[in-house]
């Protein structure tokens, strides 16, 4: 449990705040932990000390914890799989190689089932998404106070914000969804031409000149909804999952009986959560593949 004097609301809020590094404008009034106020004389790049500061930083801020963990996990994925690929032999596979091949074969099967065009990008992208999202989700199973507490001890700042699950940050999930969205538009235009792409937006579902504005509105909403639903689905599932872990963790401060109950609950929820994180990684991968397939379907007739 976090340091004494922290209220339950404070504990929850603390766990839901990312480590934001951004620019505070000149004349901004900062309040430090002891309640003293001081005014910034010029615009400063700094770590946000409160949620309010993080919000006031606006768009020009980065979540160091989200980016750090996601890049570290992505690098770990690359490292493990490259190592397996380099050492792979066509003989009897063992250990890491069999695991990697299992995942690769699984992803390859899923992609082949849904994506029937020739594209060298889609299957590796499915693998990357599946493993990366899975690993980021997996961080949710680390007891929620361990890594933040460790970070606080190492940095010496007891109020350091530190979220370890990148997928509970909408920036991360929407960031990936935007990547998918850009690829979707790129492949749509590449395969159908700009004219074909626009036609698809303008002449569906009602193929009549008068209906073009209506069609455009409908199709554009549908188009934009794809990345947003893709990102928010993952975010929502993981955010809710972490929220429950936080609430369970609160029980540890409420006496021995509640603590034991909390332990049982955490175990149960963690076991259930294994399903959720795998499923969400899988769903993200499958939807990406489906969107890619839609971008490749040229003569689609509704």
């Amino acid at each position: 449990m976090a340091s004494e004097g922290l209220t339950q609301t404070g504990y929850i809020q603390h766990h839901l705040q990312n480590m934001a590094y951004g620019k505070l404008p000149a004349g901004y009034v900062r309040v430090d932990a002891e309640g003293h106020q001081h005014v910034l004389e010029q615009a400063t790049w700094t770590l946000a000390h409160t949620s309010q500061e993080a919000a006031d930083m606006g768009f020009w801020a980065v979540h160091l914890d989200t980016l750090g963990w996601s890049i570290a996990l992505g690098a770990l994925f690359c490292f493990l799989f490259t190592r397996a690929a380099k050492r792979a032999t066509s003989g009897v596979p063992s250990g890491l190689q069999s695991f990697v091949e299992l995942v690769v074969e699984f992803v390859d099967g899923v992609v082949k089932d849904t994506f029937h065009h020739s594209n060298k990008l889609v299957a590796p992208m499915g693998l990357t998404i599946f493993m990366w999202v899975f690993m980021m989700n997996l961080m949710d199973l680390v007891p929620i106070d361990w890594l933040p507490l460790g970070a606080q001890v190492i940095s010496g700042d007891p109020h350091l914000f530190f979220k370890v699950v990148p997928t509970t940050d909408p920036n991360a999930t929407l960031g990936m969804a935007i990547g998918v969205f850009l690829l979707m538009i790129f492949f749509s235009i590449k395969n159908k031409g700009i004219g074909g792409f626009v036609k698809e937006l303008a002449l569906h579902p009602f193929n009549h000149p008068l209906m073009i504005p209506f069609n455009l509105f409908l199709e554009l909403v549908g188009l934009i909804a794809k990345p947003i639903s893709l990102g928010l689905r993952l975010f929502g599932n993981l955010y809710a999952g972490e929220m429950i872990f936080i609430l369970i963790a609160l029980l540890y401060s409420a006496g021995l009986i509640a603590g034991i109950g909390g332990g049982v609950l955490q175990l149960g929820w963690a076991i259930f959560h294994i399903l959720v994180i795998t499923l969400q990684a899988f769903v993200f991968m499958v939807l990406t593949t489906v969107y890619m397939a839609m971008a490749h379907d040229v003569d689609e007739s509704h």
């Binding site: 919000a55 690359c78 799989f81 003989g91 390859d108 693998l127 940050d169 920036n171 960031g175």
Partner: protein
């Protein structure tokens, strides 16, 4: 929970990781897996072929065995035939040899008889002469009368 630059950072790292996977991870793994698939397929095919070969070899062996048996039977039959032939031949030879011996013996006997007759004749002539001498009391001119006696002896 604010939307900020992290979004773009995450998009860039997404593209980077996808590119990395596409460039270095996926093709290598796929190549290895395809190679193993081929190896296994080849192995299965070889096993199939070996099975077929074995079956063929067994068939051939059975055939050869049967042929060998037939040959052996033929050889034995031939040998039997030859053996009886040899026995037959030996018998014939023995019979012929016996006949020859018999003939030789008969010839010998006849010769002996002839010789004995000859001898006897000579002796009879001499005896006749001696008897006649005694009877006559005088010496007969052997030279003058031998023709007569010899003629007598030849008539015996």
């Amino acid at each position: 929970m604010n939307i900020n630059l992290t979004l773009i950072g995450q998009t860039i790292s997404f593209f980077f990781f996808v590119w990395f996977c596409m460039k270095f991870v996926w093709p290598a793994l796929m190549a290895v897996m395809a190679e193993r698939e081929k190896k296994i397929a080849d192995g299965l095919e070889a096993a199939d072929r070996a099975d077929k070969d074995l079956e063929l070899a067994q068939k051939k062996a059975t055939q050869q065995m049967r042929q060998a048996k037939e040959e052996a039977a033929a050889i034995i039959e031939q040998a039997n035939k030859r053996a009886s032939q040899i026995v037959e031949e030996a018998k014939e030879q023995a019979v012929a040899e016996g006949k020859r011996l018999k003939a030789a013996a008969a010839a010998q006997i006849e010769q002996d008889v002839n010789r004995a007759k000859e001898e006897l004749r000579g002796k009879v002539a001499k005896l006749a002469l001696a008897g006649a001498e005694k009877i006559l009391g005088a010496t007969i001119d052997e030279a003058a009368n031998s023709d007569l006696v010899n003629q007598l002896a030849a008539d015996l």
